[in-house]
């Protein structure tokens, strides 16, 4: 029983490994979990920024877009190797995050939310406007599959494992950050920024650092997404997407890293169930979200933890 409590995540890793070899073998089915993986990277990055750092962003999809379009344009239009394109995307995202981070993160709450929303919209409108590079509203096509040193991930199962390998790295590094002095510093800034400064914490620097890290994760997710889809369009990168990521965060449980993982999985798998209700889907999604927010403020992860504690107490 104790082993289950400590190593539950191993079971999940096992599930991820086994899934495409068993009931998830079709491209469509592996695709669902590829999307889940990509959104996990987005949600986890945002959790570091919002759940730990305390900085609201309603524009995270901007960096998702930068990664996706940098990879897409470089590989589809200029034949640049995907690894280099992906790294370039991460670099551009990091630089933009650094440049906008300082002034924007100094803002509080709603102002910060508005500024990040504005940033997302700026990127979104630029993607549509700069048609020559990006394909505009009709999108960018013919993005090749991801390849490393000549080895191409055309096979959907191999790409699935590659994506989840990266997801694992993102989750592991996020947990490492969170459990470290850096993570403690973020929590201090989030709790009481003024008090935190009295301990030598240069809060602007730390807020910008975590902003850059989240941007890099999002860019990575964007690159993996564009190589998977082969075709990307601006609509995937608008404020609605940023809002979806935010929702995943709160659905799963903000400030827990595992919560957003759950939230991303839930939000990506839920449509598979509710799509049957067609026109009612949107309403049902909205209602589920409201219910979770009112009755489960700690998110799904919080509920699972409580459930786990309850079961373990009974088992004794």
């Amino acid at each position: 029983m104790n082993a289950l409590k400590r190593y539950w995540w191993l079971f999940l890793i096992l599930f991820v490994i086994v899934y495409p070899l068993t009931f998830g073998d079709s491209p469509y089915k592996t695709g669902i979990l590829v999307f889940v993986g990509i959104y996990i990277m987005l949600a986890v990055g945002l959790d570091l920024l919002m759940g730990y750092g305390g900085q609201i962003s309603v524009g995270h999809a901007a960096f998702f877009a930068i990664g996706a379009y940098t990879s897409g344009i470089m590989t589809a239009r200029y034949g640049i190797p995907p690894m280099i394109a992906m790294t370039s995307g991460m670099f551009i995202s990091a630089v933009l995050a650094w440049a906008t981070g300082r002034p924007v993160l100094a803002l509080k709450e709603y102002y910060l939310a508005m500024a990040t929303l504005a940033f997302n919209e700026i990127i979104f409108t630029l993607i549509i406007g700069l048609e020559k590079f990006t394909g505009g509203a009709s999108g960018l096509r013919d993005i090749p599959p991801f390849s490393v040193f000549g080895f191409s991930f055309e096979n959907h199962i191999l790409y699935y494992y590659f994506v989840w390998f990266v997801v694992f790295l993102v989750i592991a590094s996020s947990i490492a950050v969170v459990k470290s002095p850096f993570g403690r510093t973020l929590i201090a800034i989030h709790s009481d920024e003024q008090a935190a400064r009295h301990f030598g914490i240069n809060s602007p620097k730390y807020k910008t650092s975590v902003f850059i890290l989240a941007a890099i994760y999002a860019s990575l997710a964007g690159s993996l997404y564009s190589h998977y889809m082969g075709f990307i369009a601006p609509d995937d990168f608008g404020v609605m997407t940023s809002i979806n990521i935010l929702v995943m965060l709160f659905l799963g449980g903000i400030g827990t890293i595992y919560g957003p993982v759950l939230g991303a999985a839930f939000l990506k798998i839920l449509p598979e169930i509710t799509y049957q209700f067609q026109d009612y889907e949107l309403l049902i999604n909205g209602i589920i979200l409201i219910v979770v927010l009112v009755f489960m403020p700690k998110g799904l992860y919080g509920v699972l933890i409580s459930l786990g504690k309850f079961i373990f107490r009974r088992a004794r």
Binding site: G51, P181, R184, T185, A188, S191, A195, R197, S209, I212
Partner: protein
Amino acid sequence: MMVQNSDILNIENITKTFEGVRALENVDFRVKKGQIKALIGPNGAGKTTLLNVTSGLLKPDNGSIYMNGQKISGMTPDKIAFLGISRTFQLVRLFTINNATVLDNVLLGAHKQLKPDIIGTIFRRGSLNKKEREVKDKALEILSFVGLEGKEKFLPGALSFGNQRLLELARSLMTEPQMLLLDEPASGLNDAEVDGFIKLLLNIRDRGITILLVEHNMKVVMNIADDIVVLDFGKKLAEGTPSQICANQQVIEAYLGTYGSAQECV
């Protein structure tokens, strides 16, 4: 009683105005290294404002503050912290987000030493883990020193108010300060806690740390302060040893008499 010739803190002619109200007006005094100096006065006299200016939360309109000869007024709080000043707050400000524990709060005091950064956190785990262990040992020792042994895993909210104040103190001690600014650290403590607290502050002073404390509890002040500064309406009313202050008619009228604290005067 250790008296050193050097001044650690020079408060020179500080003036601070808020929307037309003079919170501080030409406040001027020195704090000697190794001493315990108390800042007393009625509510609203500007004591906390003075601490806020010293710790970097506010910029003075006029005047300067020097620490060990270096000008610190106008610097941001984090830079001042690196010079060796640490403070506590009137209303306890502990870190509570994401279930931060008592231990986490104290560990945060080590930020100056650890100076964490993202690259090191993700890529250089080995040396990080070693430092973490050292820091954790020290944190536990400090918790023990202030009397919070065994409570590392508690959430700050679960502590009694007196213990929360001790936690704030422990967190500040962790920064290895040269000087502590304490804002009413004894308020809300009962008599037994106050006695323990007096001993604790004297212990801290014996470790070589200078203390500037704002306090209303005259028992604490009279028992530990080497020197006292009295503020009233933002101005310095008097400065001197406890016996001098007790004998000062103006001080008694403005503060000691009315507050019934004169009985603590020896």
